[in-house]
Symmetry: C2
Subunit: 303 residues, 2 copies
């Protein structure tokens, strides 16, 4: 057992004896890869509806075993990480609830979903309340690639993981989830569910909505996609962002609808102000806006 002194934990230690990853895509696969690189000593199993993903995960040395049936895999897991798309979370939790009576007594459950209020609501519907051994979380990391083949052991290094524990959470469960992510090189933060969903709506969901919208609008106008040949710096970034997984993002916009629409309201008010400045040729207003925007980036922590 590693000695802990206050909050000072050996960041490379995660002592789960058997981790079960449910959903073996980029996020789940990268978690397994990061743990392997960190010298994780436990077993890693995965559950995924796609048998080929399981086979690939074993072949890549990321997981020890796996299958398509959750009930058969949950028995001796000490930690279960739900890494499925947001809208698949409820049915997976329902399967988990059925299987849990057979599970280890000290099992801890966590997830990696990009929205937290809807996932908390799933847990409340399935379990009656969020179980005290469940710690909801969200690693702020990703890629335009998907699938276990794209697993990257450094995906979480120096990235933030936001945990959104309920007030009555079991403190040792929370600590074990913190250890899991610290072992992957991440910085672990905590905030409440509502704040998480508002912050992510503004800093992640809205930018993706704008990128999807701009690229789609141009693609509709330009059937031959000719103008995409001239993509300058700004647009190249937009097309890359808009290359993200459509199903994952459909789920996010449906799950975090209210916070996304509120942030969109604010954006549209700001865009309208800037539009008027362009229409009026208002040099001072344009410079003031661009100055403020260009300074703001210094507050953005690279990760």
């Amino acid at each position: 057992m590693t000695v802990m002194v206050g909050d000072s934990v050996n960041t490379s230690s995660c002592h789960e004896s058997r981790l079960l990853i449910v959903g073996l895509g980029l996020i789940g696969g990268s978690l397994a890869a990061a743990l392997r690189v960190a010298g994780f000593q436990g077993q890693i199993a995965a559950c995924d509806p796609d048998e080929q993903e399981i086979a690939r995960g074993i072949e890549m040395g990321l997981i020890d075993s796996g299958g398509t049936q959750l009930a058969e895999l949950v028995d001796d897991a000490t930690m279960v990480v739900l890494a499925v798309p947001v809208l698949a979370m409820e049915s997976v939790m329902a399967n988990l609830a059925e299987a849990l009576p057979n599970a280890s007594a000290d099992v801890v459950i966590t997830d990696v979903g990009s929205t937290k209020a809807t996932i908390r609501a799933c847990a409340q519907r399935v379990f009656g309340q969020v179980p005290t051994n469940m710690v909801l979380g969200h690693p702020i990391a990703g890629s335009e690639k998907s699938g276990v083949a794209a697993a990257n052991p450094r995906l979480y290094v120096d990235h933030k993981v936001i945990l959104t524990p309920e007030p009555n959470v079991d403190r040792s469960a929370l600590q074990r989830v913190r250890c899991l992510w610290k072992a992957c090189g991440a910085e672990v933060l905590e905030m409440d569910v509502e704040r998480h969903d508002q912050v992510l709506a503004r800093t992640s969901h809205l930018p993706h909505l704008l990128a999807f919208s701009l690229v789609d609008t141009l693609a509709r106008q330009d059937e031959r996609l000719d103008i995409f040949r001239y993509a300058a710096g700004g647009f190249r970034d937009f097309t890359r962002i808009a290359g993200s997984d459509p199903v994952m993002w459909r789920d996010i916009f449906i799950a975090n609808k209210e916070a996304v629409l509120a942030s969109l309201d604010d954006f549209e008010a700001g865009l309208s102000r800037l539009r008027h400045a362009v229409e009026a040729g208002d040099s001072d207003a344009l410079i003031a806006t661009f100055d403020r925007a260009s300074h703001a980036r210094h507050y953005s922590t690279l990760y």
Copy 2:
């Protein structure tokens, strides 16, 4: 003399004996740096109102000489490259018109401005018409850095340079400007002024406007800039784009106002459609939009 076979030009050949760069910032400095690396044999002079930039350019070995007075530098130039902000172009052209009677008989003039209709209009006002030895152009390359200190000899490698020659252009002047950019490793294209301004409004100016607007809106809301700490992938790209030079972009939005506002109209119509899909939780519409957007990127040539 390099032998040319049809369009097959030795891409590293640019035979100007004296190049004068007016405006020694990132763009002008990178042009000098690229030519040096390509083994350019001619002299390179620069004119800039900032004496320190000239001194730095000489110290860095990018230019042979320079000064703050255009009239003193233009005499024996064989090619003049105007690399000043868009709204400074008219006064620079007026200075150039005064100095040109003393210039070499076969001097060629080109520019690097991000908008072409307003610069063509400057030339028409200053010279009565666009001189046949003037070839307007736009290298689609840049950086969030500025100043000659940020000069990068590879800035134009595999990037596109769009030339927008007038119908009555001197063909050898056009060919010499093509050679200049090919020597820097760029791909040189031609299109008319109006098409250039429309394409760039959509693929560069509008994305920058959206990034400036989003980052400014969030900075206004969040005085402590706390949410910038959680910047996820999409937002990090937006803050980087919004870190671009405020004066340069003020000029672009004033100079290309009509095309920018037209592209903004289209964008707002598309965003409104997407907003309704989010409000309605219309899964099919969201997936269709995201699918189209994510496929469009395959048409975007990386550079």
